[in-house]
Symmetry: C2
Subunit: 444 residues, 2 copies
């Protein structure tokens, strides 16, 4: 249980503003495994022609800003548009989106807000990519960059912030825009980066809009049950019977799996393409669906993680509740989860990822500094109960990456328990925006 | 000329709050060369029994806080006194002195202010040592730590600030002192660290007293002539004839050195123990004396860098001006500089360091991130005219350390041109204290 739980909690976060690592489907296919990546790419969203006009450029960055080790530089990709910029004379602002854990083009295409308001403000728009993602890969190739703890060593939030700072300082000089204010934007992990950058580089950025940025989801600052409780409440809020069906389903899955031919029956019930190897994989698949649904539970149809109707949790629960009385609970669950995984109706069967521990950038970050404890409460959560266990988490990280996490580092470097006082007295001009249904809202 | 000038500008700064690296006299004797170090140690000041009572402890620090490379940890020494601390219940403050480029015991002994006010505030006092100095040496020995660019790579201000932050976070936890306010202190480079730490770690420290901290002595923020102009004005202020004698002396030295037996004559005039090899060494020796004199031009007798009378510049000029009319200008200079180098009258002759480019911690820092351009103005300065030349500076660093300086990094990381706006809006509770005669006052 421990293993799959950890995988979920980290994966869920990484897909909040999804990992769309274009190379992962190729060179790292065997090891890399964001389960919805293949599926997501298949929907075509990522490869749609860009909605917004920008130029793609590259900037050579130091691999390690904080030491003087002789290391190769790497090309950081950034997207830039000066179409609406009113220029330095009129102090035209620079909107800087803090790229998060994925291909920057995808974030640019899914952050309409920045593009929409830029003309109003006469702003330049810059989307720098986060190091080790998309095309901004050190050591010449993703294969090399993701090889081991030594090469991954420089994939940290602090280095990413320094990348942004060095890049924007250089851009401002090239555009003679020294006095033009820089305003930061970001969502999820990128929102955390935006808030942290405003705190750490106040001489560079005058403010930040940090959306859905759980900067308090560390150590014991918020209760570890927060995330799953909010997801669960989103379901309960739509329908308490739906909540209960889901809550009951786990035991049903486990007991079915233990019977003769049980895994075959589950395979059939859930219309899986390959025979289910372990009920753990099914747990993962379902838990992920519920978690992602809570993150994209928009009141309008959307095509962000998956093609979905408006109020998707409501639709899922309608299906779960709506089937005729006496229907097997697992069939109910299948009907519900279909809304998430197959709203377009194009899927003939479902592929479960059987290697959720492959190497991915976010998993590395979660194993090093982005250590976010998560538990599932026996009573209030609809997920299987689980108590966060740091010791086993650490063991896994040592096994998977040969690295020991530093769970207290983020709060030492950026602030934790006391951050409210700091934000009040020090970190002015940071807007933390989030919906209350957002499962990450508890970490803010 | 270029070479010796660079050496001066970096060395001067390092001795402002002097480098007292106890090992340098031993294992690195041949390469390390703070010229006044031997002399300073010989005065015994450094080895006097401590005036203030504290405990010496060690804390294991990561060598690189900003990556996950597998590197050995190192023991950071810190001095701590809880004698006057009123404890966590009464929110007793923690006074944290940001150790600078030298042995922390020496700084502790020379920072009476912190010790004097601690009882009044019921404060705990902590003096952590800066990495790579004193006893806080990575890689097991100074010889290893100072071996080359690879081992020196982690000697940076950012790493030092992270050391302080990690240490104080740990101490606060151990003392159950989470809510006790931390106030930072520091002078010279340590003052810069105090100001920067307040800016970068506002969640850890509520304020900073940054004494004599030239955080603007980078790039082109202040004119490069500032430092030498202030030193020169300190002499001119006492006596314009003294200023003029010094200003004229350089040509006199050069022309004397070019004559037959000139170096012998200079050796004799300046009472040097070894025969002068080059007039450049004499330039260095004299320039250093004038610069240090300006830094410690206290109105009372002191024993900080050297044993000196009150108003030492006044005393130096009295000597220079006071010798009988017709006295050779170099003899005047010798009389003056004797006040600095031999006020106690114990020196029989003077040792000039003939290897000012040996490896030292501060020279490394100056060659990497602490790049402070300094020129000497033909008209306003009493020093030989010199125009700062980044290209040759960079070449020297490549030659000496195999490292390329990053002259724009400090301003990117900590702020530069715009720092006043940042300090006003963001970095509250930082006091920059300095005397206007202090040559570093121009960099603030």
């Amino acid at each position: 249980m421990v293993e799959h739980r950890w995988s979920l909690s980290t994966l869920v976060f990484s897909v909040a503003f999804i990992i769309v690592v274009s190379y992962s489907a190729q060179s790292l296919a065997l090891k890399h495994s964001s389960r919805f990546l293949g599926k997501f790419a298949a929907t075509g969203t990522h490869f749609e022609p860009p909605q917004f006009l920008y130029e793609t450029r590259y900037f050579q960055q130091r691999l390690d800003h904080f030491s003087f080790s002789e290391l190769p530089t790497f090309p950081q990709r950034y997207l830039i548009s000066t179409d609406h910029w009113v220029g330095p004379q009129r102090l035209g602002p620079i909107f800087l989106y803090c790229g998060n854990e994925g291909d920057i083009e995808w974030f640019a295409q899914n952050t309409g807000f920045v593009w929409e308001i830029a003309p109003q403000f006469g702003a330049m728009v810059v989307f720098p990519e986060h190091r080790y993602y998309g095309e901004s890969i050190p050591f010449g190739s993703a294969k090399e960059a993701y090889k081991d703890a030594t090469t991954l060593s420089y994939l940290t939030a602090e280095q990413a912030l320094a990348d942004f700072s060095v890049l924007i300082t250089d851009l401002k000089q090239n555009f003679s825009a020294k006095d033009c204010p820089v305003v930061l934007f970001g969502g999820s992990y990128g929102g955390m980066l935006a808030a942290w950058m405003r705190l750490k580089y106040p001489h560079i950025a005058v403010g930040a809009l940090a959306s859905s940025a759980p900067i308090l989801q560390f150590e014991d600052i918020v209760p570890p049950e927060t995330f799953y409780d909010i997801v669960s409440n989103n379901f309960k809020r739509e329908s308490s019977t739906c909540f209960n069906y889901i809550k009951q389903s786990w035991d049903e899955i486990t007991s079915t799996g233990q019977t003769y031919n049980g895994l075959e029956r589950l395979t059939k019930t859930f219309n899986l393409c390959q025979k289910l190897k372990s009920t753990v994989d099914l747990y993962d698949w379902l838990e992920s669906a519920y978690s992602y649904l809570a993150m994209v539970n928009y009141p309008y149809p959307s095509d962000f993680l998956m093609t979905l109707p408006g109020h998707p949790i409501r639709e899922v629960c309608k299906k779960i509740d709506g089937v005729p009385a006496g229907t097997n609970i697992l069939e109910r669950i299948y009907e519900g989860v279909n809304v998430y995984y197959n709203y377009t109706g194009k899927e003939k069967c479902f592929e479960l990822d059987d290697d959720p521990h492959g190497m991915s950038g976010w998993d590395w970050q979660a194993c090093t500094e982005m250590v976010m404890p998560m538990s599932s409460n026996q009573d209030s959560s609809m997920f299987p109960p689980y108590e966060y266990n740091y010791t086993s988490f650490q063991e896994e990280c040592l096994n998977d990456y040969g690295v020991k996490p530093r769970p207290k580092w983020i709060t030492t470097e950026f602030g934790g328990h006391d951050i409210h006082a700091t934000l009040k007295k020090f970190g002015s001009n940071i807007i933390f925006s989030n919906g209350l249904l957002d499962p990450w809202s508890g970490g803010r």
